[in-house]
């Protein structure tokens, strides 16, 4: 199943992001970022389903939590950055 990962600067930022989405009825799960997309080492991401990206971006912009980097899973298990 395809899904998006919103990479966040900190665990707390990821939790705020997930909480904002959950409040809007979008299932969002905080997890450790895969090493290949973690940036400067360890980070946390918020996982959302493919169909929820447009709504998620709109909600996050509204609450001032605009994502910096978003990735989508590829069929081979790798991640590809999404242009926002």
């Amino acid at each position: 199943m395809l899904y998006y990962l919103i990479v966040c600067r900190s665990l707390t930022y990821a939790q705020r992001t997930a909480a904002a989405l959950e409040r809007a009825g979008i299932t969002a799960r905080v997890l450790r970022s895969p090493k290949s997309i973690a940036g400067e080492g360890c980070s946390h991401s918020v996982k959302i389903s493919q169909r929820n990206l447009p709504d998620s971006l709109r909600i996050l912009q509204r609450v001032g939590l605009t994502p910096k980097r978003v990735y989508i899973t590829a069929g081979d298990g790798s991640y590809q950055e999404v242009a926002l």
């Binding site: 930022y13 705020r16 080492g41 980070s43 946390h44």
Partner: protein, 375 residues
């Protein structure tokens, strides 16, 4: 035992506090240090605690709620971020050593805005006078840990804002016990313990950050691990090393208790107990009681002296009768200078949401008897 030392730490806590800490020991791992269930459960608890504190103190962004180990820890971060050797720092005449010792250690130029006890107008005028002489920083306790004097923090914050002077607030005695609004104050930092009026376990504290802080400790944060400098974002910037998650789990329940009961209600309860205690003790012939004429300027702390009795000795005797209170200087010699009690110290009784009127009556009676035994 009747516990009257809540200004040091609250001993009676909501039952949920101990239960949450006990559960945490075997169920919560290290937040941010793993993706497994116990680590994520710990992360959820820490985040819920930040959110609860942000709600209670009107902090717009829970990332600006930083966990510390006590108020002193938070004050050290705040002071060492904003003060330098020679910085001119205005403080009230009621500061604790947690403020004055870091300032002395830095070699700051400390200017004390001296004012008489329980006189808010004079405290404000003293701050205005000292700020107008030029200041790099102001540090002010919200409530004196010795006398319960509520400093006019909103007005002092206003003076600081008008002059562009950053303000650090020591909320050790006020957090959870007196209304406190981070957003309205516009303070650079507010430091508070988790184990007093927030009813959390010892070893917990919070620092609310309005300014960008400099870390006091460097180390692992579970973020940006390739970098050898601390992250530039909160709360990670200030939270190096493993969290006190058992403490944080308890603190969350303490915050929930305060939120449910309401700070205004707790404040009114404590003020009423202190007023009754003060009026009752005044009736003892040998008692000198530091009770404000105006009830609204004193929180849940009362100091007194008994003529002809050393305060430590009197505290010991009351302790033998089952009353837990503190005697001496309470780590705040500056406050005693302001009230002219530095040579003798005082006996200090302080209450919490869990004290009752009946306990206060027993205490008054015990002090009367102790006083009468002298004659």
């Amino acid at each position: 035992m009747i516990y009257l030392d809540s200004a040091a730490t609250t001993l009676q806590k909501p039952a949920a506090v101990a239960a949450a800490s006990a559960r945490a020991i075997n169920n919560l791992a290290s937040p941010g240090r793993g993706g497994h269930r116990p680590a994520m459960a710990a992360a959820d608890t820490a985040f819920a605690c930040r959110e609860a504190a942000a709600r209670l103190f009107h902090v717009g962004d829970p990332e600006r709620v930083v966990f510390t180990f006590n108020a002193t820890h938070g004050l050290n971060i705040a002071i060492k971020t904003l003060a330098r050797p020679g910085s001119r720092v205005v403080v009230s005449g009621y500061e604790h050593n947690a403020v004055t010792r870091p300032l002395h250690a830095l070699g700051a130029d400390i200017r004390v805005a001296r004012s008489p006890l329980f006189d808010q107008k004079a405290a404000l005028a003293a701050f205005r006078r000292e700020l107008d002489r030029g200041a790099d920083l102001a540090v002010c306790t919200h409530v004196s840990n010795v006398f319960g004097f509520i400093l006019p923090i909103e007005e002092i914050a206003g003076l600081c804002r008008e002059r562009g002077v950053p303000l650090i607030v020591d909320a050790s005695q006020s957090a959870g016990a007196v209304p406190l609004d981070f957003s309205a104050l516009g303070a650079a930092f507010i430091a508070m313990p988790g184990h007093k009026g927030l009813y959390g376990p010892q070893g917990t504290g919070l620092l609310l950050c309005g300014a960008d802080p400099v870390p006091l400790l460097e180390g692992g944060t579970g973020s940006e691990s390739k970098r050898q400098s601390m992250p530039d974002f909160l709360p990670d910037r200030l939270e190096a090393g493993t969290h006190n998650i058992t403490g944080i789990a308890g603190l969350l329940e303490g915050l929930r208790f305060v939120e449910r009961r309401g700070v205004e209600r707790i404040a009114a309860h404590e003020a009423a107990l202190i007023r009754r205690m003060g009026e009752g003790l005044c009736a003892a012939p040998g008692a000198e009681v530091f009770l404000s004429g105006e009830p609204s300027v004193q929180a849940g702390v009362l100091s007194f002296r008994l003529r002809g009795r050393d305060c430590e000795e009197a505290g010991e005797l009351l302790g033998e009768q089952g009353f837990a209170l503190r005697a001496g200087l309470h780590c705040a010699p500056l406050a005693h200078e302001s009230a002219d009690t530095l040579e003798t110290g005082t006996l200090r009784a302080s209450v919490s949401a869990f004290n009752t009127g009946r306990e206060i009556e027993k205490f008054i009676h015990a002090v009367w008897e102790l006083d009468a035994a002298k004659y």
